[in-house]
């Protein structure tokens, strides 16, 4: 049971900085996810922890043990690869037993432990099969068993679900999460899929261009993004820039795109009038009512026109235009029956607006 401490880690490839001074404290038994678009440095960081990529500076510790100077085969950090990396020349059993043999475990113990590991991933009885006889999901389970059987201090997962189809992906992520909690093992997980990250993680570090933008629990990251990048990356949002005009109590009126928005984000009271700020308004925070309807007390309201309706089943996305031509996106669960293109009233709770210092581009 091990915490992972990544301290001031950096790496450049030629002139490109892949990871710039990242510091992370991953707690013992935590499911921690590195989330970001491709090229953000998340996989590089994971490979540094595994030992497949060198550090230009910084340190990595497993508990008290410094491991960035330890060769990769002595780190005892089990890794699950994006393409499974199942040895094609070995049976399922051979794959699972591979790490045990390397550790000089006696043969009858190897069989025993391999069988237990396969049971853990619901593949009991598959030991004698060859990799080419298995489906993608089964290969992924073999990879998990192979990684868990060596009783690693931590497990590292590099986009393990990206090669599975959508339905299996959802199923497998639940299983991985369950298994990790049951074994109480620290997990470091890499993905570019924000929904997957939120579903599976205790905490998430959102990365962009080699740096960490925000660390936090999924709910916080979604609802209180620290930067415009995080707001934009975690689902769709309305990202606007404007300047503070005046204050109304602890809220501020911000003029953006020719309209006044009421922003109730924490700390907004300190923003001087005239200061340029950016803010994010999630589509689901916008409520659509008939034109002229009264908003709930304390809410702000705007007049708008519905210009496009996109019915997605459980969710409906609605595109709205304000007088000035500014476009906002709203989302509603269950398609409102009466919704049609035309004038409507928009209202929102100013407390659900997130503000950022400086305009967002």
């Amino acid at each position: 049971m091990t915490a992972i401490r990544i301290d001031g880690v950096a790496r450049a490839f030629g002139a490109v900085a892949a990871v710039r001074g990242v510091t992370l404290d991953i707690r013992d038994g935590e499911f921690f996810t590195l989330l970001g678009p491709s090229g953000c440095g998340k996989t590089t960081l994971l490979r540094m922890v595994a030992g497949f990529c060198d550090l230009d500076s910084g340190t990595i510790h497993f508990g008290e043990r410094r491991i960035d100077t330890v060769p990769p085969h002595k780190r005892n950090a089990g890794m699950v690869f994006q393409n499974y990396a199942i040895f094609p020349n070995l049976t399922v059993n051979g794959n699972v037993a591979y790490g045990l043999k390397a550790r000089g475990i006696v043969p009858d113990q190897i069989d025993d432990r391999a069988a237990k590991a396969l049971k853990l991933v619901h593949l009991d009885g598959y030991g004698a099969r060859w990799p080419h006889q298995l489906s993608g999901g089964q290969l992924q389970r073999v990879a998990l068993a192979r990684c868990l059987v060596i009783e690693p201090e931590v497990i590292l997962l590099d986009e393990p679900l990206s090669n599975l189809d959508a339905k299996l992906r959802v199923e497998m992520r639940g299983e991985i999460r369950q298994l990790q909690k049951r074994l109480g093992i620290t997990a470091l997980y890499v993905t570019h899929d924000q929904e997957e990250a939120m579903a599976i993680s205790d905490r998430i570090a959102v990365m962009n261009a080699g740096s960490v933008e925000q660390i936090g629990q999924p709910v916080d990251i979604y609802q209180r993004p620290a930067t415009p990048f995080v707001a934009r990356f975690m689902g769709t949002t309305n990202l606007l820039s404007g300047s503070v005009i005046r204050h109304e109590g602890d809220r501020a009126v911000v003029r953006a795109g020719g309209h006044d928005f009421l922003v109730g984000a924490p700390g907004i009271a300190e923003a001087e009038p005239g200061k340029a700020i950016g803010f994010s308004l999630r589509p689901e925070a916008l409520t659509i009512t008939a034109p002229g309807a009264k908003p709930p007390p304390g809410w702000a309201s705007l007049e708008a026109r519905v210009v496009r309706i996109e019915f997605l089943g459980a969710l409906t996305r609605i595109e709205l235009a304000l007088d000035s031509g500014l476009v906002l996106h709203a989302a509603a669960v269950d398609m409102p029956r009466a919704l049609a293109e035309g004038p409507v009233a928009l209202s929102y709770d100013p407390a659900r607006v997130t503000a950022f210092p400086g305009p967002c581009d």
Partner: protein
């Protein structure tokens, strides 16, 4: 990029061993050749006198010009034949394509001077065809001289152009053609403006191989050039004549040969560096529907070239079973030639088999780890290793042989006169092929497999032997046997390095050609052809999978 691969003893150890080996048996001998050519006989003062002397002699100037002319003509001819043939095979319904392709690669591995000799048996002064033609009044067709050299080289090396070009034609997705036509271009215009430029780098890579091969070849001009001066032959003759003294003149010719090949190599690299196209067809482009006459023409052309290249070899096998009295052939079946060959001793055959086996094993043992380090651990040191390990490609066998003799004739390590020097020369010469073949195989193995093994606690060195080598095995065995086959017919270095009891089959044939033993030469040729064909037939399945990778 880092100077040395980080945190990894294994690649460092491989690089160190490989560089030490290549330093001693490749760089040091070549340095000695350079030194011999640039220093005066005392070995102290730098001088260009040797170059002035050689290049001032019309005979040697002619040798240089002839070599370059023949090489360039042969390169142009192979491209002129190889590219249309590749297109025919890729896009037209040519009958029995698998068989055609299997046979088309054969001329590359069949001993080239055996091919040259076969043409002499057919079209030489006393050749079967020449005599036949003479009877119907046709005279004056000659296989000797420039036209003969170009003909034999073309038929022998066209697969160097054909195979990569064919792969390139197949890698152009059909949607590219459709896109071109959709934008309003005719088929021919699309071919000229898109497809041809995309396959051109492959054509040129093949052309370079042809040029290198013709420049360094020793056996073919020995059989066909007669009095015409050719660089590789002149270097050999000068060296044999200079034995014991300072091999300055042979050194000059050697350096000139290396300069020509290196210049060609750099020219090609420079050209290709600006033209890299990512292709990768999702499916092989379909065969074209064309008029029947065009289809038949394509089929005749493709099969015609392959048969023309192989018929002489079949002929020489047939001729070896005819009765010879001195140089005169009689149309009477006989195994006399083989009996005569056997009576001269079985040592050359045993030597050939043993030396080829040792050298092929050595080249594999050295080449596979080098290929592994080059593909998996990029670093400055790996780049240096890449350059050094590929260098033998640009060094003529004769020149390497001369360097080895100068270097290990005396001093701290004496190797001349033994078998080891032959094995070393073969290993060095075949190393680039082995390294490239290994790298090609490794590119098909996902590196994350090795990472998974290391991650599970197996050290990089053990991972290489325990996981990577078994995964590579099929391709490596194929490559080793191909190496073996080409070593059995090596002549240009052997002829410089062999001594008395370590004579090989190729040397026997060389001697038989020098003397009058035409029958024995034919019998030797047959043995060499069998030594090529039999192992290839055995591993045909393995080779097929790596068809182009092993080129």
């Amino acid at each position: 990029m880092r100077l040395i691969p980080a945190r990894s003893g294994f690649p460092l150890a491989v690089a160190a061993v490989a560089l030490a080996f290549l330093g001693l048996f490749l760089v040091y001998p070549l340095y000695n050749v350079f030194q011999a050519s640039f220093f005066d006989p005392s070995g102290k003062a730098l001088t260009l006198a040797n170059y002035v002397k050689i290049l001032g002699t019309p005979f040697y100037r002619a040798g240089l010009i002839n070599s370059l002319t023949v090489g360039s003509l042969a390169t142009l001819m192979t491209i002129a034949i190889g590219v249309p043939m590749a297109f025919c095979v890729a896009r037209l319904p040519v009958p029995a394509k698998p068989a055609l392709l299997a046979l088309a690669a054969l001329p590359l591995v069949l001993p080239s001077f055996v091919g040259a000799y076969a043409w002499v048996l057919l079209l030489g002064r006393a050749g079967l065809v020449t005599q036949g033609l003479r009877e119907i009044g046709l005279d004056g067709i000659s296989i000797y001289g420039k036209q003969g050299l170009v003909l034999v080289y073309t038929l022998q090396t066209f697969p160097y152009v054909l195979l990569p070009t064919l792969a390139a034609f197949k890698a152009v997705d059909v949607s590219i053609e459709e896109a071109g036509q959709n934008l309003g271009a005719t088929r021919w215009r699309v071919f000229r403006t898109v497809i041809l430029p995309v396959v051109l780098p492959s054509v040129l890579s093949g052309g370079l191989l042809v040029f290198m091969e013709t420049l360094e070849n020793f056996g073919v001009p020995f059989v066909l050039a007669e009095d015409m001066p050719i660089l590789s032959i002149q270097a050999y003759k000068l060296f044999v004549g200079e034995m014991g003294a300072n091999p300055a003149s042979a050194g000059v010719l050697g350096v000139l040969l290396i300069c020509c090949t290196t210049a060609a190599l750099l020219l090609q690299r420079y050209y290709l560096s600006k033209r890299r196209f990512a292709t990768g067809a999702r499916s092989v482009p379909p065969e074209l529907v064309v008029a029947p006459w065009l289809r038949r023409l394509g089929a005749c052309f493709a099969w015609g070239v392959v048969l023309l290249a192989l018929v002489p070899f079949a002929a020489v096998v047939a001729i070896s079973f005819l009765k010879f009295r001195g140089p005169v052939m009689h149309l009477e079946p006989s195994i006399g030639n083989f009996v005569l060959l056997w009576q001269r001793g079985e040592r050359p055959l045993v030597n050939t088999l043993m030396l080829a086996t040792g050298a092929a094993a050595g080249a594999t043992l050295l080449g596979v780890p080098i290929g592994y380090v080059l593909t998996r651990y990029r670093s400055r040191l790996a780049d240096l290793l890449d350059v050094v390990a590929m260098a033998p490609f640009a060094v003529a066998g004769t020149v390497l042989g001369i360097g080895l003799v100068i270097s290990f004739n005396s001093g701290f390590l004496i190797l001349t006169g033994g078998w080891l020097i032959l094995v070393l020369a073969y290993m060095i010469r075949k190393l680039p092929f082995n390294v490239r073949a290994s790298a090609a195989i490794l590119h098909q193995i996902d590196p994350s497999l090795e990472e998974a093994s290391i991650n599970l606690g197996v050290s990089p060195a053990r991972t290489f032997f325990q996981l990577t080598v078994p995964l590579m095995a099929g391709g490596v065995i194929g490559g080793t046997i191909l190496t073996w086959v080409t070593i059995t017919s090596e002549l240009s270095a052997t002829v410089v390095l062999y001594s008395g009891q370590w004579s090989t089959m190729t040397v026997e044939m060389f001697r038989a050609l020098e003397g009058t033993g035409a029958g024995t030469a034919a019998a030797t040729a047959t043995v060499l052809i069998l030594a090529t064909i039999l192992p290839l037939a055995l591993i045909y399945r393995v080779l097929k999978r790596h068809e182009v990778a092993l080129l």
